[in-house]
Amino acid sequence: MLTGIGGQGVQLAAQVIARAATLEGRGVMFFGVYGGMMRGGNTDSTVVVSDGTLDAPPIIAKTWSAIAMHHEFWEPTRAKLRDGAVLLVNSTLFEAEIDRDRYRVFEVPVTTLAATTVGNLLAASMVMTGAYVAITGLVGLESAVEAMRGSIPSYRQQHIEMNERAIRLGHESVEALAAPAWQSTGAPV
């Protein structure tokens, strides 16, 4: 599950992860909810990935992992974290309390990285996508980049190069496979 504030790129990040998993032949479903406001409202998204066909509905009871771009609307996502869930937090902005004994928390200052190294803080969710992909190995880095290209609408093509840099930066800035999504057999963890 992914949560944040409208405008942070939460829906795009979810779409990139979902599309990348589709490219890798997984069973995938993706559902996003966002408030009426373009920016500033609640936004969250659920991506369901399976090694086979999917029976699950697009809204799930518990999640294996989550991305929190901001704490403002994060409570419904927190309530669905499994014990031991993998949690990636945008440490630039996230200020809520987290039970660190209960979850595997990875703090990544993605807004700072986007603003400084990438040069545009709007790329924060793509930095986070790169970090998530590296930590979990849910999909490969190249699949994520290709999925991003396929997810950007025709009138925003000028951002593709920057987004690619953002994904690769996020990928480099964390420890690879620190919390793998798949077992060595290929089955989900």
Partner: protein, 355 residues
């Protein structure tokens, strides 16, 4: 592909060449995708000035023999009901999309809010994959029966992305359309009239309302027999039968499978056509020797439960385990749409009744 895009794509693949609608959440994206896709295949999509204009335009388009559709949320379809009555009585094969808020439009879809004796087939897909199929089925059934078909979706269906491929499904041949007001006389050397009353042009022989309406009632009786669709699972030795439709039924299938694996004796019936309602399928499931309760899970105050009661006919108690569940916007995306909540509701129906 997003559900709304898959629906528009499937409609185009099914030969739909005209769409008119007026934006309203959660239907708006369906209209947007029609607006992108139809011009590319020589079709027309019009963002009408209102729902009344939209249905009027689609009515005209379908009367020319083209495959045409309109749609909205239930709120918008409320405004179109008078036209639906007339279109149905005039036997025009229009396809209607209700991208509903929650499941609050079950009555509207299955009973209709218009005047007169009329019936329309209602298809309620549970996910995007099935929506692609139903969308094409809707256009085929409409022409097969010369009758409107309503496609029932919701926020969850149209806003979920699934990996689907939209390929053409061949359901078989459909009747010719000598009635089509397409500029030809179909060999009669005379103008045509598509009438809801069984009339024809002045001075020409016609059957009139009595014979016309009687024939339509007979047609609906046959449709009621032949077009029921449903899915039944795990009902053989079940103590509780859950009945649910649409996207909520997807949650029920998932949870019932889980509960079965844990040893609970629970099964489900999923009506796929809401009209005709699969009465024999529900009755058969409720007739199992172990059945204690039929539990109806719907996201409204209790609408489909009437049809379930009419199917069960007192064989066992019928209880509601759903209810109104919405978000702050009223789009029907409430707490009920959670496998954990659905699980609790079904478990509550499984608890032995205290003496």
């Amino acid at each position: 592909m997003e559900g709304s895009e898959a629906i528009a794509e499937a409609a185009v693949v099914a030969g739909c060449r005209f769409f008119a609608g007026y934006p309203m959440t959660p239907f708006t994206e369906v209209l947007e995708h029609f607006a992108v896709k139809l011009p590319k295949v020589g079709g027309v999509c019009i963002n009408a000035e209102s729902e009344l204009e939209a249905v009027g335009m689609a009515w005209g388009a379908v009367a020319t023999g083209n495959r045409a559709a309109t749609g909205s949320t239930g709120q918008g379809l409320s405004l179109m009901q008078e036209s639906f009555s007339e279109i149905t009585m005039a036997e025009l094969p229009i396809v209607l999309f209700n991208i509903a808020r929650g499941q609050y439009d079950y009555y509207q879809s299955t009973r209709g809010g218009g005047h007169g004796d009329y019936r329309q087939i209602v298809l309620a897909p549970m996910d995007v994959t099935e929506a692609v199929e139903h969308c094409q089925l809707a256009f085929w059934l409409a022409e097969k029966w010369r009758n409107p078909v309503l496609f029932m979706g919701d926020y969850l269906l149209t806003h979920t992305y699934e990996a689907v491929e939209v390929t053409e499904i061949d359901y078989g041949p459909v009747p010719d359309k000598p009635w089509a007001v397409d500029g030809s006389s179909s060999g009669t050397l005379d103008a045509k009239l598509v009438s809801s009353l069984g009339f024809d042009k002045v001075g020409r022989p016609h059957v009139g309302p009595q014979a016309h309406w009687l024939r339509l009632a007979e047609k609906w009786a046959v449709m009621r027999e032949q077009e029921q669709r449903s899915e039944t699972a795990f009902c053989d030795d079940a103590e509780v039968i859950v009945v649910a439709f649409g996207t909520l039924a997807k949650f029920v299938r998932y949870v019932v499978k889980e509960l079965r694996a844990e040893g609970h004796r629970v099964g489900y019936v999923r009506p796929i056509t809401l009209w005709p309602f699969p009465e024999p399928a529900v009755a058969a499931a409720a007739s199992g020797s172990h059945v204690r309760t039929v539990a109806v899970l719907e996201n409204n105050a209790g609408q489909m439960i009437d049809d379930v009661r009419l199917s069960v006919l007192g064989r066992c108690p019928v209880v509601a385990i759903g209810g109104i569940s919405t978000d702050g916007s009223g789009f029907g995306m409430g707490a009920l749409l959670d496998p954990a909540v659905v699980r609790e509701r079904i478990l509550s129906a499984l608890e032995p009744v205290s003496a």
